[in-house]
Amino acid sequence: METIQTLTKTFEFSEYISILELSYILASVLFILGLKKLSHPDTARSGNLWAAAGMGLAIVFTILFHKTKLEDGTYQGIHNIGWIVGALIIGTVVGWLAARKVKMTAMPQMVSIFNGMGGACAALISMMEFPRMQNELAGHQATTMLNGEALAILLGLMIGGVSFAGSMVAFGKLDERIGDVKSPVLRYINLSFLFILLGFVVFIMFKSPVAGENWMIYTLAGLALVYGVTFVLPIGGADMPVVISLLNSFTGVAAAMGGFLYSNQAMLTGGILVGSSGTILTMLMCKAMNRSLLNVIIGAFGGSSAAGPATGDKTVKEISLSDAAVLLSYSQKVLVVPGYGLAVAQAQHLCHELENLLASKGVELKYGIHPVAGRMPGHMNVLLAEADVAYEKLQEMEDANNEMNNTDVVIVVGANDVVNPAAEDDASSPIYGMPVIKVWEAKNTIIMKRSMAKGYAAIENNLFFMPKSRMLFGDAKATLQKLVSEIKNL
């Protein structure tokens, strides 16, 4: 290692450091190109591989070439390589298997878990770095911990912890292990927790460092975890995609804090890139639902005003399977509007079967995809793609609405809030203003539902009571199965 002095600064030089920094530059470029390619359908898959290649490069070169400057000015390479490689192998095997084995319907949960792992990783790094930094500062008789390193450590712990706990709750909600907790009090508890958390960070920074005194860092970790839980708990299950996207960008920022701490450019660019693109993505998702981010977080859905008009005197009309089969067989244009019920029932293959069957009878079947149908944007596209449904059969909401008047039958499969007329005509409804698929404008509407239960937004849907609507109760998969055999027997 030699020291190089230029006019403006002094820096250490060695081949190793140069190679390492070069690999980080390359990794950053691969991340950026990967993300860019990921945003176009044709190049998305290669984009993912590019980003993965950048990650592999950064990991391998870090293990081989990373050097840390010690207190006495000497340099030390990476130790415990056996343990590190062991941990990498365990993580790879478990991660690979989990990602391969998971059902397509459980994909959102999986993304949430992986996101939480990243957040926990960032928090753990901070928990290990804090004692070291504090001992160092105490050794130098510093009076406060007011410096960039301490800030990065504390913020990394705070954001990482919130992201971890929040992601786990989001996972629980998507997996339907945790119900929605709707309490206006929680909002204030939440807000006060946030202030306590931030206040505690400030408190630690102004505290004089004492070697070996670590209770603050554990307290901060605990507070961050609790806040993560109370932050996500009151948000409705239907809004989890937005929450996961938001937590995703949080983890990005937490990773960037690590980059700041180690002056590691790959972590810094990677983390911030995800932080900012994740925030934009979150905004785009909110826009697709015509709501603001604040509205999602505070949780206007499913609150006090969501009761809707009383429905005691209204009745719904059921349709028999044979009537539905006849109706479909003698139609010209049929539109299937899928929702989360389709995902739960794993009915996508049957939809495709119905599509082929009707096609053989000269009936055209298309799918109307609402941008936020399901539990993640694009959820329905992914599911139907799995069932080999052709791209051009999938219609975006606007196109579907334009053709609605000419559509003979609409089959709503497990969707509710995205086809609720209240979004158009009931200004008091919490979903008022959200763009919806106007299935009631079609000549006939068949609604497949398990029961009369409300959708995730927990509001009444007047569509079910409209004159052109017919209900077909039962599990989407079983009902579709029966419908398909009924049509075959005609």
Partner: protein, 103 residues
């Protein structure tokens, strides 16, 4: 005030990178078709797994048993994030590609 100015000078390069990366992230993501929201989120999720580098560095200099254990866990979690994230994204995109071929 002086402290803040000192801070800005000390970390000017990092601050530069942060600001440019923010704009880059926004620029790269805008105009994404909603079909790709999920894979994109998942891909970005894998990219922030870059935090694993920090875990490797910490683990690489761990001396006591507590740091070793925490470091080990951190590396495992980071790897889960990276590998799981990329594989899940690939699986989602695999299905899109299959469709393309049939067109």
């Amino acid at each position: 005030m002086n402290d803040i100015l000192k801070f800005l000078l000390e970390y000017r390069e990092a601050i530069f990178i942060i600001i440019l990366s923010i704009f880059l992230g926004i620029e790269v993501i805008s105009h994404v078709p909603s079909v790709l929201h999920t894979p994109l989120m998942s891909g970005a999720n894998a990219i922030h797994g870059v935090v694993i580098i920090g875990a490797i560095i910490v683990m690489g200099h761990a001396v006591n048993i507590l740091a070793m254990i925490l470091g080990f866990i951190a590396v495992v979690l980071g790897t889960l994030n990276v590998v799981g994230g990329f594989v899940v994204t690939d699986r989602m995109l695999e299905m899109f590609r299959k469709k393309k071929k049939q067109l």
